[in-house]
């Protein structure tokens, strides 16, 4: 069994005229990205501990945790700012205690000890599963490092595509990546997935994946530009997309399938990462078709192909 392919996403010879929807695609994308930018400013990203600074303790209580008792104990220890939240599935025995960033390292350490003491009184037998404390200066440092990494990888991708393709391709790819990234940020604002170092890694992976997808489609366009010297750019782009459609959907499918279990069973630490990946795969795949290709069409209509005279286009 399984000796022959059992299904295809699209049958051979599919000729969908994607470029007819170029305005619709760009407009929808533009609206979504603008909305995402608006969301970024208000209500803003849910900054994770890495970037916000502060203290988070994960605790496990023997019985179902009584939040009012815990809250009272913490308040009487002078920690009225402590936030409580249950986590994990099941009996409600997992509690996240989070504190605001303290003025300095010594106060942070005191606060952790106070939480521990209050906990032993309010919920005897509770175990501390994890403690995380990040000072304000470090969180600043991590934040700027993270953004630097993000910005630099954009520049490196731009340079590489520029080096390998015509500049129109590079501009198209990076513009699309910016649109993809803003949408991912909008997604994070809506889902309240915390923005931290791990999710920056997820965004970078999404960017890497999305670029990969664009490179494959662009590669085909470049090849077809050489092959069909007189075909109008618009028809050529459509044909290239159609020819690579099974590959695009196939690869997106496998990466999606690989990330899906992570989102479902990966636990609190990885599910945020995985959901961003899943969202990014869908956005990245559709943007290759509906955004990157139209941008190339607009930029390249008169340059990549000047009617019949455009024979010397590619080396």
């Amino acid at each position: 069994m399984f000796m022959r392919p059992m299904f295809r996403f699209v049958p051979d010879g599919t000729k969908i005229r994607f470029m007819k929807g170029r305005f619709a695609g760009l407009i929808v994308s533009f609206i979504l990205s603008t909305a995402s930018i608006a969301l970024f400013f208000k209500p803003g990203l849910n900054l994770g501990l890495d970037f916000r600074g502060g203290v988070v303790l994960q605790i496990q209580t023997p019985q179902k945790a009584d939040f009012s008792v815990l809250r009272a104990a913490l308040a009487s220890a002078g920690l009225a700012d402590a936030g409580l939240q249950s986590f994990g599935s099941g009996a409600g025995t997992g509690v996240l205690i989070s504190l605001e960033s303290r003025a300095n390292a010594a106060e942070t350490q005191t606060a952790i000890s106070e939480v521990e003491t209050a906990l032993h009184q309010a919920a005897p037998g509770a175990t501390i599963l994890s403690t995380q404390a990040i000072g304000a200066s470090v969180s600043q440092q991590l934040f700027s490092q993270g953004l630097e990494a993000l910005g630099l990888s954009f520049v490196m991708i731009l340079c590489y595509i520029w080096f390998r393709f015509e500049w129109q391709f590079a501009v198209g790819a990076v513009a699309t990546l910016l649109l993809d990234t803003t949408k991912t940020i909008g997604f994070m604002v809506i889902t309240r997935i915390p923005f931290d170092l791990v999710t920056i890694a997820a965004i970078l992976t999404v960017i890497g994946y999305s670029t990969n997808d664009k490179v494959v489609v662009y590669d085909r366009m470049r090849e077809n530009l050489r092959k069909y010297k007189s075909m109008p750019l618009r028809a050529l782009i459509d044909q290239s997309i159609n020819e690579t459609l099974n590959r695009t959907l196939g690869t997106s499918g496998t990466v999606f399938l690989a990330a899906l279990p992570l989102a479902l069973f990966g636990g609190t630490a990885l599910s945020g990462f995985a959901w961003i990946m899943l969202f990014g795969i869908v956005v990245g795949t559709s943007s290759s078709i509906f955004i990157a290709a139209p941008i190339l069409l607009f930029l390249g209509e008169h340059r990549l192909r000047r009617g019949a005279a455009a024979v010397k286009v590619q080396k």
Partner: protein
């Protein structure tokens, strides 16, 4: 396409065999028959997976600077006194990193220069770096630490701190700690298996600078302004109560040779017994002989632990510190004193501790996701491409082994994000095969014979495969360079994964396909 030289085939097989062999340490214990030179390395589990504490410490260098300037002031005072030169306004200026004074008599300039030059040579000996700059203009004299000297001093302070923390942590019984410098003024401490680092926090957070100073019995305890040459320090057990002590340090804790916790046979309380080295013992004997009947304060980090009255001269160089100690706190104090004082206070600016249960949960969740994701990808490839999908699947399994092997040999650390990285690599790895198979299929549709279709498919897909993988590699190399440790683990797995993918998905699958074609000579390709 079809031709693989014997050597090449063997090389590919050897790489695969080596991959399996080197990844085995992660799955089974070392078998006896293996020769001893054969590496048997496992992937290290990050602290987020096996449980443990990660502490990021920041050195408060301004304290070192201040201390250095203050001791320089003392030394300048002595040098000037030794040369019998009159001066006023001797003071430290931390903003400019200098010590300055005004000569009473401007004509003493050359004499002051000579006296202080000797001092500079002396100070120079205590650290490696450029020497102090001495400026004499008229009556104004200044000694400045040049910038490079500060950098050298800071570097030295960090190295010292690392050594001392190492000693303290080793003494506390934590196994396999890792202590490393990060950047200019930070230290990373990783403590596997420690989920509640409260004790370690206290051990690290204490400077442990002990001094013995005489109590000034003439000072009024209530007087807010201490007499000249005195300092007023709080009692450790009763911060409301202050004691005025002479600023001059009689014996410094740096001269301690040993310290041990024990119980006092008379009171049954926990105490710390200490012995001084020969220099300290002599100083201790001198001071105690000259001051019988006076209280002598034992001071730790600016707090008076106790101020017992000297009953008789102590010449043996050993003594006892008593206070309200428990077994634990006495043991820890003894450990701190043995390990030595930190050159400057360290503060914990970042802390991450994961308990073993949570780490085990994370491994379970990660392994489950990995297994399910892996199976889903295998099934997808088999249904989508049939036989060629199976070839890709064989390569995928090999890919997993080789990745694991490389990570093991590198001694890489597997973190939770790293596990996600492996899974995503597997998802992306088949992309190369998807590209090839689609290409071959197109060539078949275009009417080529099976062999020609295979050849053209592989050849044409290569450019695309390289382009798409290089861009992904670039993104993750950036992430590795600028990321923090847990994220680096992720970037490393993806980068290693891309390289192994290029081997398995193209070279290995091509070998398998050619073997299959040669043995079957199919009339049509199953695409």
């Amino acid at each position: 396409m079809l031709y693989f030289s014997r050597a090449k085939t063997l090389a590919i097989a050897a790489v695969c065999a080596l991959g399996i062999l080197l990844s085995l340490p992660n799955l089974t214990p070392r078998p006896g028959f293996l020769p001893s030179f054969f590496p048997w390395n496992q992937v290290h589990l990050g602290l987020d997976l096996r449980g443990g504490s990660y502490l990021l410490l920041q050195l408060d260098f301004s304290a070192v600077e201040k201390q250095d300037l203050n001791s320089l002031v003392d030394e300048v005072r002595q040098a000037m006194r030794g040369a019998t030169l009159g001066y006023t306004e001797l003071h430290a200026d931390p903003g400019r990193n200098q010590v300055s004074l005004n000569l009473l008599n401007a004509s003493d300039g050359p004499a002051a220069q000579a006296a202080l030059q000797k001092l500079i040579t002396y100070v120079q000996g205590s650290y490696n770096g450029p020497s102090l700059t001495l400026a004499v203009s008229g009556a104004a004299v200044s000694l400045t630490f040049p910038h490079l000297a500060l950098v050298a001093r800071e570097s030295q302070a960090i190295d010292q701190s690392i050594t001392i923390i190492q000693r303290r942590i080793d003494g506390s019984g934590v196994l396999n700690p890792s202590i490393a410098r990060q950047g200019q003024d930070q230290i990373v401490v990783q403590l596997p298996g420690v989920s509640d680092p409260e004790r370690i926090r206290a051990l690290i957070g204490t400077t442990a600078h002990m001094t013995f100073q005489l109590v000034d019995t003439t000072a009024q305890p209530g007087n807010p302004v201490p007499p000249l040459g005195d300092e007023v320090l709080p009692m450790q057990d009763d911060p409301g109560q202050n004691v005025a002590v002479l600023s001059n340090v009689a014996v410094d804790g740096a001269d301690l040779e040993n310290a041990q916790a024990s119980t006092d046979p008379q009171s049954g309380q926990w105490v710390v017994n200490f012995t001084l080295n020969s220099v300290g013992a002599r100083e201790f004997a001198d001071v105690t002989s000259a001051n019988v009947g006076k209280p002598f304060a034992i001071i730790l980090d600016g707090k008076v632990i106790s101020a017992p009255v000297i009953r008789e001269p102590i010449t043996g160089g050993s003594g006892q510190i008593s206070g309200s100690y428990t077994a634990q706190s006495a043991t820890d104090l003894a450990l701190l004193l043995r390990a030595g004082a930190l050159p400057a206070p360290l503060s914990i600016v970042e802390e991450q501790s994961v308990g073993p249960e949570l780490g085990a949960d994370a491994i379970r969740a990660g392994a489950l996701s990995l297994a399910v994701g892996f199976v889903l990808v295998l099934v997808f490839m088999a249904t989508f491409y049939g036989l060629f999908g199976w070839f890709a699947n064989i390569a995928l399994v090999m890919n997993l082994f080789i990745m694991l092997a490389i990570l093991s040999v590198m001694g890489a650390t597997l973190t939770l994000p790293g596990m996600a990285g492996i899974l995503l690599t597997l998802g992306m790895a088949v992309d190369a095969n998807v590209l090839i198979n689609e290409r071959v299929r197109e060539e078949v549709k275009a009417g080529r014979k099976p062999l020609a279709a295979l050849e053209a498919g592989y050849k044409r897909a290569y450019g695309t495969i390289i382009d798409s993988n290089v861009t992904t590699l670039l993104a993750h190399v950036t992430l590795f360079i600028f990321g923090s440790p847990p994220v680096r683990g992720f970037a490393v797995t993806i980068c290693v994964g891309i390289l192994t993918t290029l081997f398995t998905a193209t070279v290995l699958v091509r070998l398998i396909t050619s073997r299959w074609y040669v043995s079957r000579r199919p009339a049509a390709l199953p695409v």
